[in-house]
Structures are given as C-alpha cells and as structure tokens.
Amino acid sequence: MAISMKDVEKVARLARLALTEEEKENFRAQLSHILDYMEKLQKVDTSSLEATAHPFITKTGWREDQVFPWGETEKILKNSPEKEETFFKVKRVLE
C-alpha cells in the first residue's frame, strides 16, 4: 500500500519526530514497500478470532501498593539534561 507524504508528516507529528525532508521521502518509500509485503495478512479470515495481546493468559502479578524510599534521587537527577533544585527543568509549558 503506497502511503502519501501527507501520511508520513501526520505520523511523524504523532510520533514527535522532526524528520528532515530526506528522511520523510525515505520513510515514505520504505514504509510503502514494507506495508505492501504485509498486505498478505488481509487475506486471512480472522472474523471468529480473539486477539492475542500476550502469549499466555496468565494472571497479572499483584503486590501490595507500599511506599518505600527509593534513595537514589541524586543519581536520577544527575541524568537530567537540565534541572533546578530537585526538579527537571523544561521550556515554558503555558504560553
């Protein structure tokens, strides 16, 4: 299935990727090629099938929702590109 440049731009915006013009053209061609190959799925009759989201119907593991001190605040903040006191800092959110 051929996808359009408009589709690529819409998806890039949804995915929060500022693609270059060259990247957009590459992905348009490559994704079209890959989706063509995947067309074969459409011929499978799946009308009576349940979806598989996880390989096994296992029970979800539960544990008590207990608060415990993490104790690594310094190490976590050290990885941040910009911080102030104990906060991550970003550009203005509200204009």
């Binding site: 992905f27 799925l41 979806a51 598989t52 544990r63």
Partner: protein
C-alpha cells in the same frame, strides 16, 4: 590450558577448590578482552576497575571460608540494554549516550548474589532493533569467524564475546531472535526462555509482549546454570510467572529416548540455504540415533509471522520509546525554541534510522483509521500462530528447525533494504509471538567455515527438555568445541 578456555562451571569448581583465585580469572578475561576487543568490538565498555574490586572482595571471602554462590568468580558480559547500577546504559543509542543507571536490573541482582563478576557491557543494534548489530550508533561488531561478516543481532556483542572467549557466559535479550540468531552466527549456544520465565525489571523495554532476557554459553551445563540463576518470580515484573524454577543443572543429563520431535515442513522451504539444510538434517539424525522419534509436522500460519511481528513489535516499541523525550534523561536538542520542538528535535537527533523507521511503522499501525487493518489484524493472526504450536505440541515434545535461513552475511549486504533484513528473522520470530522457549545450538560449518545453528523450540516452561537435548547433542558431537582462529 589457559583460563579463558574453561567453562563457567569449571571456573567455579577451580575457584571453590582454591586452584585459582577470582582475581586471576577476572584478569585473564580482561587481558584477553583488551587484546581481542579492538578487532571484534564486542564490548562498548569494559568494567575493569569494578570487576577487579569485586573479584578481590570475593577472594577475601574465600580466604575466610565464606559461602560461595553458584557463579562464584565467573566473569559475565552484559548486553548494554540491561541496567547495572552506576554503569553506563546506552542501548547503543546516541539518545542515551551519557546515561548512568541508578539501579540494578533484577537479573543483575541475582548474578551478584551468586558472586558473578560483571566484565562489561556489550554492543547491540540500537534499542535491540536489528539482526546484524550494524544499527549500533557507536561501533560495528565483527563476526569472530570472519571479520567481513556480521555477528548477527541484536545481541551481536554478547554472542561474539562468548564465541571469542572474551567471556565464558553472557546475557542478551530476545524479542524476535536477538539471542538465537547471533548465537547461530557466532557458533555458540543462545537460549530465549519462555515469556514470563525471567524477570525483565531493568531491561530497557522494546516490545513488552515479546521481550525476554536469556543466556549465552558454550556448554549446555553453563547455559542451564545461568538460566537457573536468572529465572523465577519477581514482584517488580507483573508479567513474570510464579511457576517454580526447575533445577536445570541437575536434570540436564537425563536420557531422552522417550521424546518425540517434530520437523515443521514450513521451515524447510525455498530460500533456505542448502548447507544449512544439510547440517540441520544431519543433526536430526543424531537425535534419531539416541532413540528419539522424529516426525514431520505442520505450522500452517508460519508465512504470516514476519508480517505479524513487524506490525506488533514496532507498535509496542513506538509506545515504549515515547519516554525518550529529552525531559528527564538522555539527549536534549540545543536548537529547540519551544517544548514541542524540544521533543521532536531531541528525538530526531537522538534516534538512528532503524529506530525511527520502526517508530514510524508502529505509530502508523496504531493510528486512527489504520488500527483495525494492521494492529488489531496482526493480534488476531498472532492467535493463529500460537494455536499452530498448541496443536503440534499435542503430538510432539519439541520442534527442530534451522535458526537462520543462511550462515552469517556480509556487512552492508542487507542494511540498505529493511524488508530483506526483517525476512532474515523468519525462523526465530514465531517463538516470541507464541511465547515459547527456544535455543540455538552450533551444528556445523559451511564450506567457507561459517557457523551454522539449529533451533529447538519447546513447550511453555519446558526449558528442561531443550537443555537436555543440547547436552546429549554436545555429548555426541564436537561442534561446540571449535574456536575461531583469531581466538585460539
């Protein structure tokens, strides 16, 4: 014999008998890595100082006759998408270039509890997306059997490190074959456990309904030992099973004549390399000679596996990788003027081409208007693939297939055509879609001297049968004893 050629189990024995010290062992593997890594590029980072410190502390404990763990003094290589506290964690991506993990993954805690020595972090395709390790942002890992060829991927660093004996054992992760295919290409054992067998807390998420951590080793016994250490319930991973972990090592030598194995005809089709076919058929005959019954079986929906996988894995990845937004960690663009621009530019600058391609593909498959045709459809066809396996496992105990349709390919051969690269995973991905355990075992060499691997797929939580078959196969053959020339 040099220490580097001992198995992990032999190293533990020698250390416990005080025939060798932990520092001697660690130093031997570090020295070898410093010599061979500049040629092969398995390691992104050698943990030299801390590894020696850890080994020194263990020697002190031994001197005081303290109790020792199951992996006492064994150096291990760790794929760089698994968190080790205070060590770099890059996922071979520029977006995490300067990230230092604030905590240990559960598997790392378990290794340390059993006194393993963390040797270093190994190269991978960026965020484990790829089949050749060519997608690493930092270096190109070479195949130790032929430096012009890829080691496979995404765990190419871990596989090549064990193959060249820079480490006796290693950890990798497998979402669609990322342990088994590089194990096949590098001539070592690689096992993907059942979905839910090994906790994933501290493994950087790629596709959460498929990802598993698993061992690389040379011998079946080492593979069993490492699996035994890392398996079992963890309250920090809600998908991790409470099913008890068998004593894999103790059960490994049991005879197998009661077994029935299936040969799925869909795995022996056009496109399968002739030499690979021959070697796998020869291996089947070895199993037959042990009294194992062999029969042809069918997994009729195999042809859809690549399509299903390359919709579901990128979809899950597009959600999992949304966290790399330049806010709390990782690369932040310097040229952005607004918050939105900061997200978009940081991600475009930080991610490599394959990761962006998969995020685009996954976002497309999940987007309004296409969700039913792609994502929902793929989930339903996944049910058919799972049911294929359920049906054959009513008749047989395990399946034997090739791991990869070809021996290792050359650099650049597939990287420019993403679909060709995706199709190279054709024999490994169904296992992840169905959540089954799978192992790749060296079963011979091509005329050019390149390793060939066979794959055994088992019933859910039946890693024991896979390891027993591997053990018996290794007792009857000597492929696993071959070592690449440059590593001798």
């Amino acid at each position: 014999m040099e220490l580097n050629f001992f198995s992990a189990s032999e190293i533990v024995k020698k250390i416990k008998e005080k025939k060798v010290s932990c520092v001697e062992v660690t130093r031997a593997f570090l020295e070898r890595s410093k010599k061979l890594n500049p040629l092969i590029h398995s390691f992104l980072f050698l943990n030299e100082e801390k590894a020696l410190e850890q080994a020194g502390n263990l020697d002190k404990k031994i001197a005081k006759n303290g109790s020792l763990g199951k992996l006492a003094g064994v150096p291990i290589a760790i794929k760089d998408n698994i968190c080790v506290q205070d060590l770099q964690l890059t996922c071979s991506s520029k977006i995490l270039q300067n990230f230092v993990s604030p905590y240990d993954a559960t598997v790392i805690k378990r290794l340390l509890k059993e006194d393993a020595i963390l040797l270093g972090k190994t190269n991978l395709d960026e965020f484990a997306m790829g089949s050749s390790t060519e997608n690493s942002a930092f270096m190109t890992t070479k195949n130790p059997w032929d430096l012009n060829r890829v080691p496979g991927g995404s765990s190419g660093g871990s596989a090549s490190a064990v193959s060249s004996r820079m480490a006796p054992i290693a950890l990798g992760s497998d979402t669609g074959g990322s342990i088994r295919q590089p194990a096949s290409f590098c001539g070592v054992l690689g096992l993907k456990p059942t979905y839910g067998r090994v906790p994933r807390f501290g493994l950087v998420a790629f596709a959460s309904s498929l990802d598993q951590i698993g061992p690389f080793a040379v011998t079946a016994e080492d593979c069993a030992l490492l699996l035994e250490v890392i398996s079992g319930y963890d309250s920090l991973d809600s998908t991790c099973s409470e099913i008890a972990v068998p004593e894999y090592v103790n059960q490994i030598k049991q005879p197998l004549s009661h077994l029935r194995i299936g040969i799925p005809k869909e795995y022996f089709v056009d496109g399968l390399d002739q030499e690979v076919r021959e070697k796998v058929i020869q291996a089947v005959k070895v199993f037959e000679s042990m009294g194992i019954k062999v029969e042809e079986v069918s997994l009729p929906h195999t042809e859809y596996a690549v399509s299903v996988y390359y919709i579901l894995a990128p979809s899950e990845a597009s959600a999992n990788l949304a966290r790399y937004d330049g806010v709390r960690y990782g690369h932040r663009s310097k040229s952005a003027h607004s918050l939105l621009e900061m997200y978009e530019k940081s991600r475009d600058e930080g991610f490599g081409p394959e990761v962006k391609r998969r995020i685009m593909l996954g976002t497309y498959a999940l987007s309004s208007g296409y969700y039913d045709a792609y994502y929902a459809k793929a989930q339903k066809v996944r049910t058919l693939i799972r049911q294929d396996f359920e049906k054959v496992f009513e008749k047989v105990d395990a399946l034997v297939t090739p791991t990869s349709p070809t021996p290792p390919f050359c650099f650049g051969e597939k990287i420019s055509d993403p679909l060709q690269m995706y199709l190279s995973d054709i024999f490994t991905i169904s296992c992840n879609l169905a959540g089954l355990p799978g192992i790749s075992i060296p079963c011979g060499f091509s005329n050019k001297g390149l390793p060939i691997g066979l794959q055994i797929l088992g019933k859910p939580y039946d890693e024991t049968t896979l390891l027993q078959m591997t053990y018996q196969y290794q007792m009857s053959t000597s492929w696993h004893k071959e070592i690449p020339d440059l590593a001798e």
